[in-house]
């Protein structure tokens, strides 16, 4: 919508610029707050008189402390491996299921679609207690495999649902042409549908990756040794011990736990957005 006819600058300021500015400040301030806190020396941090918005004597000691005295780098590595592996598992299963549900006609296809949709709406908080027993039965407690195998339960329904919609937009004729030229169904799928569906697969992948990076409850319940933790759980459980919180180091942890995922996201914004809105539209 272009600048509307007859809209004065004052009105535009009032109904547009000021609200948008306030929204941006409210949405982004906590990140500024992480940064500013993480570089404040303690004597500024715990002084109620200073204006808290600025730093007068910036220091990197909290960052140093985070990387030297905590397992943060280890947690970052764990998070990266787990997020990558669970994304790969979910994409594999999600692409196959999405293709089958959007392209193939077989008895029970509709019920499978409904099952996928229902699991899409089952929150992890409903199942974490019995799931912990299942993980224990499989002897996977405290192992990254516990997370690599359980994250797909909320990633596959999402990916399959998104990709179903995506594959439906690829013309069936392309596949039929390939089959007339002698390709098998699988070949047609691998060589025609998957390359054309790449943008959708990328959307599902980037979305799954951010969801796994952020997951908290399963990682909190299934992993107990500090060495094996992911960033969200490590920062919350290992750096918040005791009664005194070291806010400088905590905020440095929050900052450096957010930067990698924000960095990855910045390269795939459009895919991320189309994944998000695509999943909503179904």
């Amino acid at each position: 919508m272009e600048a509307r006819v007859g809209e004065t600058f004052r009105k535009r300021l009032l109904v547009f610029y000021i609200p948008l500015f306030l929204f941006l400040v409210a949405l982004l301030f906590p990140f500024y707050w992480m940064l500013v806190t993480s570089i404040k020396p303690d004597f500024e941090l715990y002084n109620a008189r200073n204006a808290p918005f600025f730093v007068w004597h910036p220091t990197l000691s909290h960052w140093w402390q985070l990387f030297q005295n905590t397992l943060f780098t280890r947690w970052a590595w764990n998070t990266l491996c787990i997020a990558t592996a669970s994304t790969a598992v979910s994409l594999f299963a999600g692409v196959l299921a999405g293709y089958a549900l959007s392209r193939l006609i077989f008895p029970g296809a509709t019920s499978f679609g409904i099952i996928i949709f229902i699991t899409y709406l089952v929150p992890p908080t409903l199942l974490f207690i019995p799931l912990a027993s299942v993980i224990a039965e499989l002897h996977l407690l405290d192992s990254p495999w516990a997370l690599i195998l359980t994250y797909p339960t909320f990633l596959i329904p999402f990916s399959a649902w998104l990709l179903m919609g995506y594959f439906k937009t690829i013309p069936r004729e392309l596949e039929e042409c390939a089959r007339i030229d002698g390709a098998t169904r699988l070949q047609a799928m691998i060589k025609i549908v998957l390359p054309l569906g790449m943008p959708g697969i990328l959307s599902a992948g980037i979305f799954s990756f951010t969801l796994s990076w952020n997951e908290f409850l399963y990682a909190l319940v299934f992993i107990s040794s500090p060495q094996q933790k992911t960033i969200p759980v490590g920062v919350v459980s290992e750096l918040m011990k005791g009664d005194v919180f070291y806010w400088g180091a905590l905020m440095a942890g929050a900052l450096f736990g957010s930067i990698p995922i924000a960095f990855v996201y910045s390269f795939f914004v459009e895919h991320y957005v189309s994944g998000m809105t695509g999943a909503v539209k179904g």
Binding site: M1, P19, L20, F23, A26, L27, P30, F31, W33, L45, A48, P52, F53, V89, F92, A93, L96, A97, A100, L104, I105, F106, I118, P123, T125, L126, L127, F128, I129, P130, S133, V134, L149, P152, T153, G182, T184, R185, L186, Q187, I190, T210, F216, L217, V235, L250, M251, G253, A254, G257, S258, I261, A262, Y265, S266, V273, M276, V280, K281, G282
Partner: protein, 337 residues
């Protein structure tokens, strides 16, 4: 069933082998018969569904039935379970904390969802105008939704700190400015204990959940707004409609289908929220801000009372089932239209 994924792999390589020059004719024959078998839509369909269904079966369907069983037992951590019927539930129904939690969950879900929908819609309308740096602004707006909730939650915990942090510093500043303005002495202003007082703590968790969810609503609504044809607004202008009238009579009806799905999805996620409460209050002060998920965690993982914890978590199910059922019927109605 377990052999199926393996055969998918062989079938894949068989595809390339068959099309390449086959050096061993006898291999060709059985590979050919597999690939002929895979030409059957039903066989291929089931095979492609197998990995997804297997994971769902082991990690959703089985735990769900196990959860139902656990909720009927007195299972404690590393103790054998005894069937006790519905006693976990009757015990819960007699406890004050449980009903406080149920009420909290309803209040939290309702207020946060309404706030997210209204503010998200407002932000979507703002973002839908032609502005400079539109793509950049849209990308940054999503940040609260991208970063790990517990980590941004930590930043909020520190912002809520009653003595040293921004909110109360800002309020004190306002207080002192007013004093200065009226040349009066109102006494010392302490400011609310954001996370230490039950009512303020509830307010705080709703605020943080809303903060995190606004981008999701805004960006999804924006996708809906962009499909509304501009001619409709022009027609509204010609008929002399005001901005509000155009919004209510053009925008709202047209984005309703997307809005319904977004709201239902967010309702489920908010209803089952765990992270915001865990990081901000751990259910405190005095168990006043528990949601069903955090109470289940405290009972099941904190006290090791797995049976009772599973019962609390399962209590979410009827609500979720209603939502899912309604959503399925709604989608069916939409697609048949």
């Amino acid at each position: 069933m377990k052999a199926l994924p393996k055969s998918t792999v062989t079938a894949r390589s068989s595809g390339t082998l068959v099309s390449a020059e086959a050096s061993a004719p006898y291999r060709l024959s059985w590979l050919a018969s597999i690939s002929a078998w895979l030409e059957n839509e039903a066989v291929l369909g089931y095979m492609l569904m197998t990995p997804a269904l297997l994971l769902i079966l082991i990690f959703i369907a089985y735990p769900f039935s196990l959860g139902v069983w656990l909720s009927l037992t007195d299972k404690l951590v590393s103790q054998p379970a005894h069937f006790i019927g519905l006693r976990n539930f009757t015990h819960l129904f007699e406890s004050q904390i449980f009903w406080t939690t149920v009420w909290n969950t309803v209040f939290f879900t309702f207020s946060a969802t309404v706030l997210k929908a209204v503010l998200g819609m407002w932000l979507a309308v703002l973002l839908n105008r032609k502005i400079r740096f539109a793509r950049f602004i849209r990308a940054t707006v999503l940040l609260p939704f991208i970063v790990p909730t517990v980590l941004s939650g930590l930043a909020w915990v520190w912002m809520f700190d009653a003595t040293f942090s921004v909110f109360n510093w800002g309020l004190r500043w306002l207080w002192q400015s007013t004093e200065w303005l009226f040349n009066a002495d109102f006494g010392y202003f302490r400011g609310p204990r954001w996370l230490g007082d039950p009512a303020w703590a509830m307010f705080s968790i709703i605020l943080v959940n809303t903060w995190r969810g606004i981008p999701f609503f805004a960006i999804s609504f924006l996708a809906g707004l962009q499909t509304v044809p501009a001619e409709l607004y022009d027609a509204g202008d010609i008929d002399g409609a005001t901005g509000w009238q155009k919004f209510w009579h053009i925008t709202v009806p047209l984005i309703k289908p997307i809005a319904v799905v977004v709201i239902v999805f967010s309702f489920v996620v908010t209803f089952a929220d765990f992270q915001v409460v865990y990081v901000l209050t751990r259910g405190g002060p005095h168990n006043s801000t528990h949601l069903l998920a955090t109470l289940a965690y405290q009972l099941g993982m904190g006290s090791g009372n797995l049976g009772e914890g599973a019962a609390v978590a399962l209590f979410m199910f009827p609500f979720l089932a209603l939502v899912i059922l309604w959503q399925l019927l709604y989608l069916r109605k939409e697609s048949s239209q």
